[in-house]
């Protein structure tokens, strides 16, 4: 097969961050190709079912190790839109204190930009994709900005039941911000609150990339090339420029795609895996890895998960969205809890189905037999969930390396080691305690915390950005310190994670990076 024609930009992955870069660069007139290992999902593929929704998730390509192994397959995407095809679109921002933790507290790492640098991009993303929320209420916790284009999504009784509990503990709440339409927006309809977000929202009420940045990129000529598994980034003889990428197509044939700029947007374990596998004599440790930091600082959020049974005939817990109706940053302070360091974000309550990871049955994993049947029946109208995301600090030993074992393309698997430290565990435990107090004060007739082990929610890090080549892999735009035309995008760039879902921040940072690249194209692309 002939080598495909050289393009301006080859993006690895067609997920969330890839879509932002593709949209900005295609609009700037660049020829963009997105090489995606999975299918190019169509709306008709987004079948409303927890069971069928699993097709949207990756088949595990990694070896998972450590005390708190990552829930990799649940958290990683596969196919156009990436994990954001089946994400919940809860859209909290990081707070200013998240950006300078090392300078302010001597903990974690600093970001290469501040909240103020990112704030205009948060506001623009909200307008671009449609965000529903009450900015004024949120500004109790963060600096002021633009109002959101839509009011908050509606609440249901299973979310409102927790408010009494929050109030009793003096915790102020606000309506949660979501990238879900509370009204028709830019030709996309308002949400109908059927709770199928996890299987992908085929009507476009939820701002998944296929309806937003990816659609925009395609409109401007960007190509998604599905079933294209990228294995290596290729460099010139001197090793100072990348020339393209190697990939295997749907017939499992090796191909080379030449490009002026290569952007790796392949998520947490895959960005490092590809960089490490691209080692040459000029880059013996892998690309962008002279300082040995590629693959390090992988993070996840703990989740203090509290379930409450409410003695009411029907709290309509089957209605709503999968993200949240109410949230609170009141306990976000890094040092708000005795003896431990790290933030938490309280939020409630998702629509729940009987099955799958977040389902009714899984809320009481100890039950089986007739007791489980009875519990599912009761829970289907009376059960609700409260949760606090908890921060994990970046730890260089939580890392991705190449394993000896290889995949069908001879591409070494990623081996991911992950263990929470004492701070993360302590924050999680204290949040569990507080959550039970909230549940009691809210009037739950039964309440319990899932304490067996902290879950690993979201995944970020692995190719941290920073100010200097000595302590990071890329700069604040995503450009690697080592090779000017090799870029990185996505949550993999996060040096710290705060206690919030990552995508709003990731979108804002990607928009900032992509516009910088477009504005400085000639200097960077050469």
């Amino acid at each position: 097969m002939a080598t495909p024609e050289k393009v301006d930009v080859a993006i690895v992955g067609a997920g969330a961050s890839a879509s932002v870069f593709a949209s900005v660069l295609a609009r700037a007139g660049k020829k963009v190709v997105m090489l995606e290992q999975g299918p190019d999902w169509q709306n008709g593929d987004l079948i409303s079912s927890e069971i069928w929704g699993r097709r949207l998730k990756t088949v595990n390509p990694a070896i998972l190790e450590g005390k708190d192994r990552l829930g990799y397959s649940y958290n990683a995407g596969w196919g156009s839109g990436g994990a954001a095809t089946h994400y919940f679109a809860m859209f909290p921002r990081l707070l200013p204190s998240d950006f300078n933790m090392k300078s302010a507290y001597g903990r974690g790492l600093d970001w290469p930009f501040s909240y103020d640098d990112l704030a205009p991009y948060y506001d623009r993303v909200a307008q671009d994709i449609g965000v529903s929320g009450d900015a004024k209420a949120e500004e109790r916790w963060r600096p002021p900005g633009q109002p959101y284009p839509m009011p908050p999504i509606r609440s249901f009784r299973h979310g409102d039941v927790w408010l009494k509990g929050f109030e009793a503990l003096g915790i102020k709440t606000a309506r949660a911000t979501t990238a879900i339409n509370s009204q028709d927006y830019k030709g996309r309809p308002a949400c109908v609150y059927d709770g199928w977000c996890n299987a992908g929202c085929p009507i476009g009420a939820l701002a998944n990339p296929s309806f937003t940045y990816l659609a925009e990129a395609r409109r401007h000529g960007a190509e998604v090339r599905p079933f294209s598994t990228v294995t290596r980034v290729l460099t010139n003889d001197k090793g100072d420029r990348v020339t393209g990428i190697e990939y295997y197509d749907r017939e499992k044939q090796r191909q080379v795609q030449e490009a002026s700029i290569v952007i790796l947007a392949a998520f947490v374990s895959q960005n490092p895996r590809i960089l490490l596998n691209s080692a040459t004599d000029k880059h013996p440790q892998g690309l962008a890895n002279a300082n040995g930091l590629v693959g390090r600082y992988v993070m996840a959020h703990t989740g203090a998960t509290i379930w409450g049974m409410f003695d009411e005939p029907d709290i309509q817990n089957y209605m709503g969205v999968l993200s949240a109706m109410h949230w609170s940053y009141d306990r976000y302070g890094k040092t708000a809890r005795p003896g431990v360091f790290g933030s938490i974000l309280w939020h409630c309550s998702p629509a729940i189905k009987p099955n799958d990871i977040g389902g009714i049955a899984n809320s009481r994993n100890d039950l089986f037999g007739q007791a489980l049947v009875d519990f599912i029946k009761r829970g289907s109208r009376q059960l609700s969930r409260l949760q606090a995301f908890g921060e994990e600090l970046p730890n260089p030993d939580n890392r991705v390396v190449l394993a000896g074992e290889k995949d069908e393309f001879g591409f070494p698997l990623a081996r991911i080691n992950h263990s929470y430290d004492q701070d993360a565990i302590g924050v999680w435990q204290q949040a569990c305690d507080e959550g039970l107090q909230i549940a009691k004060a809210a009037g739950a007739t039964e309440s319990w915390a899932l304490r067996a082990a902290p879950p690993t929610i979201h995944m970020v890090g692995g190719t941290a950005m920073g100010r200097s080549a000595a302590d990071s892999v890329a700069n604040g735009y995503g450009q690697t310190h080592e090779i000017p035309n090799l870029w990185l995008a996505g949550v993999t760039l996060f040096p710290t994670e705060g206690a919030v879902n990552p995508t709003y921040t990731m979108y804002a940072a990607s928009l900032r990076g992509a516009e910088h690249l477009a504005a400085n194209w000639n200097a960077i692309a050469g």
Partner: protein, 186 residues
């Protein structure tokens, strides 16, 4: 996106159907229909089916009738990328049949060594007790994937077939409300 319908309302009996071959013809059946019609089992061995059904019914009474064995067997026969089992999103590495074979084999070996009988032959109280101990990783000499993980995944399969389908969710008196009903595509 005006052309997109907000809701493709499911009318009539919409079941999450899977493709089965009966008498040489491809038919679309829900796992419970497949179980009732005796759809052939292709991947699992007869004794594995027997164990899976018995463990499934212990974990969630009704799982056998809802077609746990047909569902699991059918999904073990498709490419990992098309697989709908919970094992896929619980980071089990494919081929998933390796997990099921090891898990069901471990249950059988432990039952034989502890009780001198296969799991399906145990009295209900003994089956319950065995599963309870597997859940807590308290079976001495257990050889296979960790007992609590086996419990977790098989229990999920049981919940999927009994309460994760259109039929199952509606049996709880809860509206299914699909945008795209499973049967439309499959």
């Amino acid at each position: 996106m005006a052309e997109i319908q907000r809701r493709a309302l499911m009318q009539g009996a919409a079941l999450a159907a899977l493709s089965f071959t009966i008498d040489g013809a491809e038919v679309w059946l829900s796992p419970s229909q497949a179980q009732a019609q005796g759809a052939p089992i292709n991947v699992l061995k007869p004794d594995e089916v027997e164990t899976l059904e018995a463990v499934g019914d212990t974990l969630l009474p009704g799982a056998r009738k809802a077609g746990i064995a047909n569902f699991v067997d059918n999904q073990l026969g498709v490419a990992p990328g098309d697989c709908l089992l919970m094992a896929r999103i619980a980071s089990v590495r494919p081929p998933f049949v390796n997990f099921y074979r090891a898990a069901l084999g471990a249950i059988e070996r432990s039952c034989l060594s502890l009780h001198g009988k296969r799991f399906a032959e145990l009295a209900p109280a003994a089956q319950y007790d065995f599963v309870d101990r597997m859940r807590q990783n308290k079976i001495e000499g257990w050889q296979g994937p960790p007992g609590p993980f086996v419990y977790f995944l098989l229990r999920h399969d049981a919940v999927d077939v009994a309460f994760g389908t259109v039929e199952g969710i509606e049996s709880l008196g809860v509206p299914y409300m699909p945008h795209i009903s499973p049967e439309k595509r499959w």
